[in-house]
């Protein structure tokens, strides 16, 4: 039985909410857990935050590096490009 869970935790605030929503939309396999002041999202293998999805939700340009402002914690191998922020762990 292989454990390849990854997670991302974000602050529960106005800035992070559309990011959380974008993750929900684009990662149907992810589970969202609410903690005081914080949201932790767990998923097997991979979580992706897409620039386009966030931009559609907030109605303005969004740079994936803006995620640094609301990030609490992560687990997994990070890959960051202009278009997405990704966490991966191979099975």
């Amino acid at each position: 039985m292989s454990n390849n869970m990854v997670y991302i935790a974000l602050q529960n605030n106005e800035e992070a909410r559309p990011i959380i929503e974008a993750i929900e939309q684009d990662n149907p396999h992810a589970v969202i857990n609410h903690f005081p002041a914080m949201v932790k999202i767990d998923a097997p293998g991979r979580i992706v935050v897409n620039r386009e999805t966030v931009e559609e939700l907030i109605g303005r340009d969004w740079d994936p590096q803006e995620i640094h402002i609301s990030l609490v914690s992560i687990s997994g191998n990070v890959d960051e490009t202009e278009d997405a922020f990704m966490l991966e762990r191979l099975a």
Binding site: N4, Y7, F35, I69, V72, I74, N77
Partner: protein, 516 residues
């Protein structure tokens, strides 16, 4: 016409890699004298890549935004007397532990990363260390600044620097970092960036900050999350450095594994303080230590080590003992502080009946059987006005410096201790984990500044408890009493209109009660 915007990869490359040059006046060995200290083999520093691809210009931009957010909240908190909105004044003792025990580690990390950034030849590593060094300085400053507001209203927060450097239990976090900083650069970065930041820091910051949020401490939540947003980058550095070392040469694997074993165990011991904070010090609990350890270490750490197995890395040695210890760690640690409160710069207390029910539900295997009867006994003594204190000085572990109160993993009624001999002297450690660490580098650990030894050698102000507490600059009868007898509690009741018992102005009376 504006120049074409650089892509993220291209920008990272231009603004890190391309900033370096090959030295010609001096040899690399002379410029980076610590590179061959530890036996690590690095063949190509260009293989180092920061997956976040953060460049200094973006770094300043985002950090400035974090600071602006933080300070607007700190100001609002102070203006609105936010200290009165915490669940109850017991909570503030978690902040005392944090400021005296953890914030100075942020400063140590600032120094450590500045030193290590100088030692690594690769520019990717240099830039990452530089950012982290600046981050850590920001953390200690914002923590001191935020908690300074509480210092106006509560005791035990006014002398953290002196306390951190001198008080017995604070030698535990202090020596942890001193140990890392006196190692070579690769061990330091494995210790702090990987073992501490990547594997264990979630257990420090996430429960602490969720705990603060749950207990009405908006200011601490904010500095905590502001600092934690940097941690994600630090953790990524930690993972990157491990993968980098392992990919460079197969001979690095056993060296790195030994460091992972050592620093996992050192970190686990250090987190005893967090365990008791979660289970005992938060008036409103977020989750138990046991739940947190299962979530962040067993589950998430398990995934991490499965991932690292491809490099030949296994789970840290003795991790199974940490799982067996989940049922006991917080209770045994709290017991020690409760019974030595006369020498601690924060208040302890016995959980009330409702809290004991919570503990019982979270620890069905251990709480009712081993700890509740003791708590009932202490509570009874407190109610009779003669709280229990243990006046003897404990034996300390030569490695982690924690008093030897932990029990054997398979027997919670037998205290665990191990003995090593070195050059005709005996040295005691609290566990197999700490003994292994001592045995591998005895010449390092025989130099440990063990608070109890130092007291007996006459280096801590004198021979009596009073002398030592004065030397600690402990405000006797004020900082070092059980919560029930504290000025903090009396003031809190007065501010919140909880009852009409004498408060603050009668601090003298309370002190008397406490020292009686």
């Amino acid at each position: 016409m504006a120049a074409k915007k650089l892509g993220l990869r291209e920008k990272y490359s231009k603004m890190t890699r391309d900033l370096s040059w090959d030295p010609t006046y001096q040899s690399m060995d002379k410029i980076y004298p610590q590179m061959n200290l530890e036996g690590l083999k690095i063949e190509d520093w260009d293989k180092w890549e920061d997956p976040f691809r953060l460049t200094m210009d973006a770094y300043w931009k985002y950090q400035a935004e974090k600071e602006r957010k933080l300070y607007s909240i700190i100001e609002a908190f102070a203006q609105n007397n936010g200290q009165l909105n915490v669940t109850d004044a017991r909570y503030v003792n978690a902040l005392k532990l944090f400021l005296n025990g953890v914030s100075p580690l942020e400063y140590a990390a600032h120094r450590g990363f500045a030193m290590m950034g100088r030692q690594f030849p690769g520019v990717g590593a240099q830039v990452a260390c530089q950012m982290q060094s600046v981050d850590e300085l920001r953390h200690v400053q914002t923590q001191v600044h935020t908690i300074s507001h509480y210092n106006k209203y509560f005791n035990g927060l006014d002398d953290f620097r002196h306390k951190h450097d001198n008080v017995w239990y604070l030698s535990v976090p202090k020596s942890f970092f001193d140990d890392a900083m006196t190692a070579g650069p690769f061990e330091f970065i494995t210790a702090i960036s990987f073992s501490f930041e990547y594997v264990l820091t979630n257990l420090l910051f996430m429960p602490f900050m969720s705990g603060a949020a749950y207990n009405g401490d908006m200011a601490t939540v904010t500095f905590g999350f502001s600092a934690q947003s940097d941690e994600a980058r630090h953790m990524t550095l930690g993972l990157e450095v491990i993968k980098f070392m392992l990919e460079q040469h197969p001979d690095n694997v056993p060296i790195v594994q030994r460091w992972i074993d050592k620093w996992f165990w050192r970190g686990y011991r250090l987190l005893s303080l967090v365990a008791m904070m979660m289970d005992y010090m938060l008036p409103k609990k977020v989750m138990s230590w046991k739940e947190a350890w299962e979530m962040y270490f067993v589950q998430n750490g398990g995934a991490l080590f499965e991932d690292l197995a491809r490099y030949g890395i296994r789970m840290p040695k003795y991790w199974e003992e940490t799982v067996k210890g989940m049922d006991h760690l917080s209770h045994q640690t709290w017991n020690t502080f409760y019974t030595h409160n006369h020498a601690a710069a924060f208040h302890t207390w016995m959980p009330d009946q409702e809290e004991q029910e919570w503990l019982s539900a979270k620890y069905p295997e251990s709480f009712d059987k081993y700890y509740r009867p003791r708590w009932d006994f202490y509570t009874k003594l407190e109610e009779e006005g003669k709280p229990f204190g243990n006046p003897s000085l404990p034996m300390l572990c030569q490695t982690c410096q924690i008093p030897m109160f932990y029990t054997e993993a398979d027997d919670p009624t037998t205290v665990s201790y191990r003995v090593s001999e070195h050059k005709g002297n005996k040295y005691h450690t609290c566990s197999d984990g700490c003994k292994d660490i001592f045995d591998h580098e005895p010449e390092k650990y025989i130099q440990a500044w063990l608070p109890v030894h130092q007291i007996f050698q006459g280096n801590c102000g004198g021979a009596s408890l009073d002398d030592v507490l004065d030397w600690y600059r402990m405000d006797k009868g004020v900082e070092n009493v059980h919560y029930r007898f504290s000025a903090d509690y009396a003031n809190w009741k007065k501010w919140k209109g909880l009852d009409d018992e004498p408060a603050a102005d009668d601090a003298a009376e309370i002190q008397q009660a406490a020292s009686a």
